[in-house]
Amino acid sequence: MDISSRRKFLTVSLAALATAAGGATLYPLFRYLAPSRSAESGQKITLQLADIPEGGAKYFELNGTAAVLVKSKSGSLAAFSAVCTHLGCIVQWQKGQDQFLCPCHGGLFSVAGAVLAGPPPKPLEKLPFVVSGDSIVVG
């Protein structure tokens, strides 16, 4: 083995070692800083029907994000992600008008989550729910 190939072998070996050491350092660092996923998926939450007045809304946290359950004046129920599809502000329920208003840029959503006015590009994300007796399970 001549000197240049020996030097090349040592350089490559050192680079491989340094890469392995870098990986062994960066992987735990990434895992340490990455947000925990296990607690933020597949969560279900049980709410009492009596807690939501006619034409009112109840906000709660689901899978690490804000959600809302509304009961319209007609008595129908709907659950949505409360995160505005424009820039991520939390939409506010307008009790008298049966609609959501995003206070950041004036986006308006209907009681069914559809965009009525303003900059939001998409309707609010609907969340599945099941009514059983006096309670509602969302998620």
Partner: protein, 367 residues
Amino acid sequence: MPFLKKIYRWLNVRIGADEILEQELTGYRLPANINGWYSLGSVLLFALALQVVSGILLLVYYVPDADKAFASVTAIMNQVPFGWLIRMCHAVGSNLMVLVLILHMLSVLFMGSYKRPRELSWLSGFMLLNLVMAISLTGYLLPWSQLSFWATTVATNSFGAIPVVGGFLVEFLRGGKLVGPQTLGRFFALHVALIPLGIGALVGLHLFLLKRVGVSAPPFGLSDTGNQWQGDRYRYEDHPDGIPFFPNFVVKDLISICLYLAFLLLVVFFNPFIFFPKDAFIPANPFQTPAHIKPEWYFLANYQTLKIFPSELLGLTAQGVAMTFLALLPFIDRGRERHPLKRPLFLACSIGGIAVWIGLTIWGHYS
């Protein structure tokens, strides 16, 4: 590679990178008989960087609130992925840093490198030792365990022996009559902000002095082992026939850093709780003092000194005298000779001093 070379050339024509590299790396000459003990400074810089990085990472999950601190540390250890690794590196690293700092000081002491014109380097190093011990003491309270709580109670209580202002000083340190949530806030601010700033400033001063005064040659293997400093004017101690800093000494530095890292990981992986007695795993209870509460190993000699003197004031005075003597050593020991074997009085005193310190530490551990 050609792209990297292009970037380097772009920088070089603007800031003269070639000249800086020549001056600071290949052209920076160190004594030809330099030894591995001289790399302890680099090991300390690496250890400090590791403490800063792991400390910042711990801040992501640690909650400095007396009601939540213990739970947050428990969560870091048991729930956060690799949280145990980060915390253990920080906790074990702080102990090893004190150990390396003491070894660095001893090497400077035995090779006579503290002698003039390096009095300021010694003083800044001595202050760094005190600050590192202070940052360790303040960090000890943060997990809010029984060990943290009562070790801090005992440590802060010893200031009460100072005449006239002692009582006020204890209350001022604790933020109240007893150690409590207000103490945690104070120690947290000291641990993560004030003391790190002081350490950063002193490390900067220490390195500045090293660059201005130059590296002292070890007194081994030389015919004349006396201090060459004239004292008439400023002179940089250069070593034109010495070895270049890069690559020769950088390799030595890297070997020492790898050995340090290997030792740190050996403790972290195989005996992580060597520095954690069982009281470190019980949340702080201000109404229940555990039996046999002991400080960290590097405070055991101080702890035992306070116990063997008939009054705490005498114990504190003895420690104060010893520390002042050590701080002013370059101004007291003004002899030219640097070789330890040619300084019998120095050798006897220093070996005696180390033996007393180790003896008190062991006594403190078993008392």
